[in-house]
């Protein structure tokens, strides 16, 4: 990225964010500094839902925060929009200090720049689909004809045309969440928060909605913070993943990084059962090209092992791996692919 705009490199920048629940949380942190011990917290009767979170979210990426229930992921995403006020730390959105702005500015910011999708949809039961999708615009005072047109466009985008006059209770879960998605996109937000959007759905519908989500992101290229407790979902959707446990972020990395280099046993526990062939790419398993070696065919460096396995295993051909510009950067042979497929210890990238 070599853009020479004055805007900062990250959409969202969190530094040392803490959220402590309980009385006198502020004075507690002042007393104990940035790294209070668990015993101190316990003695004070406080609960640290988010501990010292540091992360940057890049423009246009899907950033997934993954953790089990009680890990603080929902609190963290709420801190990002100040739905929950962080106890300490710094929070910058597009270079602007979010913690310093007034309530009124924050409201404006939420109206125009942020969108959020909720686990249980949070649709207003007294409004129709159209009314729900137009709601954020109505709040802003957008003229009726304009907001209705915009809402209709959004409804079409999520594939619910013809159901504008339905009420939430008349829709299935998947359809309700489509409304939630359309509604959050109606204001064309710069950043899109999704808090476990598909967790309340049946597995088959969930899968379908994930595809739908990827399709939308392909069209819109939003900056996305996506919360989930489902590691497979995280792997499937994420550009980068942050893993949380007990309020702390343990590791941040691309799906491949987490699988190849889990920072702790806890992370390794999650990655153990993940099908490596789906995550690892040609670039990860390739070996250097022997000078003078003849290559039968080439493939792009981001091709997943799963997708090249068929060709690699059934034939004895040597395949070259190319970078974005088409230059050969390595080769894949069938032994490497077989190792991944049968689950032998993957090569460590050091």
């Amino acid at each position: 990225m070599t853009r020479t705009t004055p805007s900062p490199p990250h959409a969202l920048h969190l530094q040392g964010i803490w959220k402590i629940f309980g009385e006198d949380a502020n004075s507690f942190l002042q007393k104990f500094g940035t790294s209070p011990a668990d015993s101190d917290l316990q003695k004070a009767g406080l609960i640290a839902a988010v501990r010292d979170a540091n992360l940057d979210i890049h423009r246009g990426e899907i950033f997934v925060i993954m953790g089990l229930s009680g890990s603080g992921k929902s609190t963290l995403v709420r801190c990002m929009s100040r739905l929950i006020e962080p106890t300490a730390g710094e929070l910058f959105f597009e270079g602007q200090d979010l913690l310093a702005i007034s309530e009124k500015e924050l409201t404006e910011m939420r109206r125009h720049k942020m969108g959020m999708v909720f686990q249980h949809f949070a649709l207003l039961p007294h409004l129709s689909v159209l009314g729900n999708v137009a709601f954020p615009l109505e709040i802003q005072g957008v003229e009726k004809s304009v907001r209705q047109q915009r809402a209709l466009d959004m409804i079409e985008l999520v594939g619910l045309s013809g159901r504008e006059d339905y009420y939430p209770r008349e829709l299935s879960g998947g359809q309700q969440q489509r409304v939630g998605i359309a509604r959050s996109l109606a204001v064309e937000p710069d950043i899109w928060f999704l808090d476990e959007p598909f967790s309340a759905l049946d597995p088959l519908i969930r899968r379908e909605m994930q595809d739908e989500f990827l399709r939308l992101q392909g069209l819109l290229r939003k900056t996305i913070v996506f919360i989930t407790h489902d590691f497979d979902e995280a792997i499937r959707l994420a550009d980068r993943i942050a893993i949380m446990k007990d309020g702390a972020i343990i590791q941040i990395g691309a799906p491949e990084d987490l699988i190849l280099n889990p920072a702790t046993d806890y992370v390794a526990e999650f990655t153990r059962d993940v099908s490596r062939a789906k995550v690892l790419s040609a670039k990860t398993v390739m070996r250097p090209v022997t000078p003078g070696e003849s290559l039968d065919e080439t493939l792009a460096h981001h091709t997943k092992v799963q997708d090249l396995a068929h060709r690699a295993v059934n034939s004895d051909r040597h395949m070259g791996v190319t970078d974005d510009d088409g230059a050969i950067i390595g080769a894949v042979d069938n032994q490497a692919v077989l190792d991944v497929l049968v689950g032998n210890e993957p090569p460590r990238t050091n």
């Binding site: 939420r110 686990q119 949070a122 207003l124 709040i139 802003q140 006059d165």
Partner: protein, 667 residues
């Protein structure tokens, strides 16, 4: 968190507790049989009584006579409030009952008759049809038809005009206070005990200071009505707003709602259904209170019942009582239909027969035609007397007949219960030394909720003794206790039966609904008919009034027993009886106790009203204070009733809470 600690505390009752308990019981038994050993421990000495009632009376005198708020006096303030409320009330009264009189010049007043009865019936019928459908329309028309047919129209319209003004005011005040409490937890903390007190102080006790401050008349009665009917609306508003799912509020914030937008566009619409429950409660409580407030000049149906009770004119009283009942049923079902009406959806919109504007139009046309028409055909304006019927002689004769033919049987039942159950309890409570009673209450409080509840129980009972109302309070406790015992013995089995049998359940629900719709006054009529005055008649009225929650909570408690537990016990081979006694009842017990708690609360409020049929308890104190406009006496006795109610409520709630925690049920 706090409750959890309380629970753990109680788990380990210290050994000294039982020591003290044994000492107190021994001392109690000793004093009980040797009353003259230490008479000051047995009966609260007169010299020790704190003259609180006189202090309050004097303070009220000062308030009304001398207190100056700077720009105006306190009296001017109350008078201007009364004046402000006077004109909407008299407008409603003129519209519905008395008609308007414009006297431009002396001697030739222009009179505009009140809304024609035929128009009122049509409008209410249409409203019922608009809200729900034909069935409700028939019911409501029938109820209002009774009022006309039995010559109750005029009184009923006076009562209705108070309701029409008091309810919107009560609802708005309650709504605003509720929102304030929801937004400012500090205000809620401050408001909750006030609401507690307002809801436990008996109805009569309100009347005394209101009478004193606002004088005798419909306005004072309406103010008392509003004070009585508003607290539930406050509570319902707070609860309804809190029940709006967090996600929806979060969504509202994320969409960038300002505070007003959040309230108007999200919280209130989402909570609408619960809020309407509050409105329904305000209507029913207002009706209940308007009837009672006839004692301070509300007039209307309440006055008719009251005066016929005083004359022992059973037939007249019964007809007026039925009029109250029908008015109550009509208003209750209308407001419920309003709460339950389907939210405008594609489906229901097409089903609705009248749009809102059509409805308004029809109402206007009805009025525009019938009003002028009634000037030419007076029968349309005022229901003609020649078409009225009355059954009061029939009822008078029936009562006479019953009393002649079944006197011995009725008397035998009454005497048996009085001698073998009621009197022994009464004597036991009166003879138990006051010190011992207070000590026992304190110890029970300690056992249930450690020092907090012990202190509460002790403070409130000591208060009762200190203001010199101990023996009156014991009579209240006795009447309440015996009534609740009977109510529980009737209500719990019915509840158990209804929970397992859907037909009984439906019948029970109808019975409960009706019982809870009836204003408390009405219960006095049949018992006076059969048993005249006294403790026994009072007890019957109290039982009838307070049995509903015992039934309702029992049904609820049993139905809440998780289905998988029943399944598991059946799989283990339990017989239905075993399931009932060993699974359902133990798990439902905390809930049933909450029902008994409600029964106690209702019994206490009814007891005060039964002072009209000659009980000698705290209720009588309040009633006497009311007739003598003795503010101090009324307030003190009223607060004593509230003390009993609060102790009972806190103890039982705490017990039930602990039990639920133990069973792992949601609190």
């Amino acid at each position: 968190m706090e409750a959890r600690q309380g629970f753990d505390d109680v788990a380990q009752t210290p050994s000294w507790f039982w020591g003290i308990f044994a000492v107190i019981i021994t001392l109690g038994i000793f004093l009980f049989f040797a009353q003259d050993q230490a008479p000051y421990l047995v009966e609260y000495p007169r010299d020790w009584v704190i003259p609180l009632r006189f202090v309050i009376s004097d303070w009220m005198q000062w308030l009304i006579k001398e207190f100056d708020l700077g720009f105006f006096t306190f009296k001017e303030l109350t008078r201007s409030i009364a004046w402000l409320l006077e004109w909407p009330l008299s407008a409603a009264n003129s519209l519905l009952a008395t008609g308007f009189t414009f006297s431009t010049e002396p001697g030739a007043p222009i009179v505009l008759s009140p809304a024609p009865w035929i128009a009122v019936i049509i409008i209410f019928g249409l409203l019922a049809f608009h809200l729900s459908g034909t069935r409700l329309a028939v019911l409501v028309t029938g109820c209002f038809g009774y009022l006309a047919l039995f010559g109750q129209w005029h009184s009923a319209m006076i009562t209705l005009s108070s309701i029409v003004i008091a309810v919107p005011l009560g609802v708005s005040i309650g709504f605003v206070l509720g929102i304030a409490a929801y937004r400012h937890p500090v205000f809620e903390k401050w408001l909750t005990p006030v609401l507690d007190l307002m809801q436990t102080v008996p109805i009569f006790a309100y009347l005394v200071p209101v009478l004193f401050l606002f004088g005798f008349g419909p306005v004072a009665a309406m103010i008392a009505t509003m004070i009585y009917a508003t607290p539930p609306m406050v509570r319902v508003t707070i609860l309804a707003l809190k029940q709006v799912p967090v996600e929806l509020v979060e969504y509202g914030n994320m969409a960038g709602c300002a505070r007003g937008q959040l309230l108007r566009k999200i919280q209130v619409p989402v909570a609408q259904k619960s809020l309407m429950v509050g409105v329904n409660q305000v209507i029913m409580l207002s009706l209940n209170m308007v009837i009672i407030a006839s004692m301070i000049g509300a007039g209307g149906l309440g006055f008719d019942v009251l005066s016929s009770l005083r004359r022992l004119a059973i037939g007249d009283g019964l007809e007026a009582g039925l009029a109250i009942t029908f008015l109550a049923i009509a208003l209750d079902r209308l407001s419920q239909a309003f709460a339950d009406r389907p939210q405008t959806s594609r489906l229901s919109q097409s089903r609705r027969l009248l749009s809102h504007s059509q409805f308004t139009l029809v109402v206007l046309i009805t009025l525009l035609i019938s009003w002028p028409a009634s000037h030419f055909y007076p029968a349309l304006g005022v229901y003609p007397e020649s078409l009225q019927i009355t059954t009061s002689h029939f009822w008078d004769d029936l009562v006479k007949w019953i009393n002649i033919n079944f006197f011995d049987q009725l008397e035998a039942i009454k005497t048996f219960l009085l001698i073998h159950i009621m009197m022994p309890v009464k004597h036991f409570l009166l003879k138990t030394p006051w010190v011992i009673s207070i000590a026992v209450i304190t110890l029970i409080g300690y056992r249930l909720g450690r020092f907090r509840l012990a202190a509460l129980g002790m403070a409130l009972t000591v208060f009762i003794a200190a203001v010199g109302l101990w023996s009156k309070a014991m009579i209240t406790v006795y009447l309440c206790g015996v009534s609740v015992l009977f109510a529980a013995c009737i209500g719990i089995p019915i509840g158990i039966l209804a929970a397992s049998n859907s037909r009984t359940n439906r019948a029970a629900q109808v019975a409960i609904d009706t019982l809870q719709t009836l204003p408390s006054f009405v219960y006095l009529i049949p018992v006076v008919m059969l048993f005249r005055v006294g403790d026994f008649a009072a007890m019957l009225a109290v039982i009838a009034y307070s049995v509903a929650p015992a039934i309702r909570y029992t049904i609820l408690g049993i139905q809440q027993v998780p289905a998988h537990l029943i399944e598991a016990s059946r799989a283990m081979g339990c017989t239905p009886n075993q399931i009932r006694w060993r699974v359902q009842l133990p798990i439902a017990l905390p809930q049933i106790m909450l029902g008994i708690n409600q029964t106690i609360m209702m019994a206490l409020s009814m007891l005060v009203i039964t002072a009209l049929v000659g009980t000698r308890d705290l209720g009588q104190e309040v009633y006497i204070a009311l007739t003598k406009a003795d503010t101090g006496g009324g307030i003190v006795a009223g607060v004593c009733v509230a003390c009993i109610a609060i102790v009972a409520d806190r103890f039982i709630s705490q017990w039930s809470h602990k039990k639920k925690m133990k069973l792992g049920l949601p609190a």
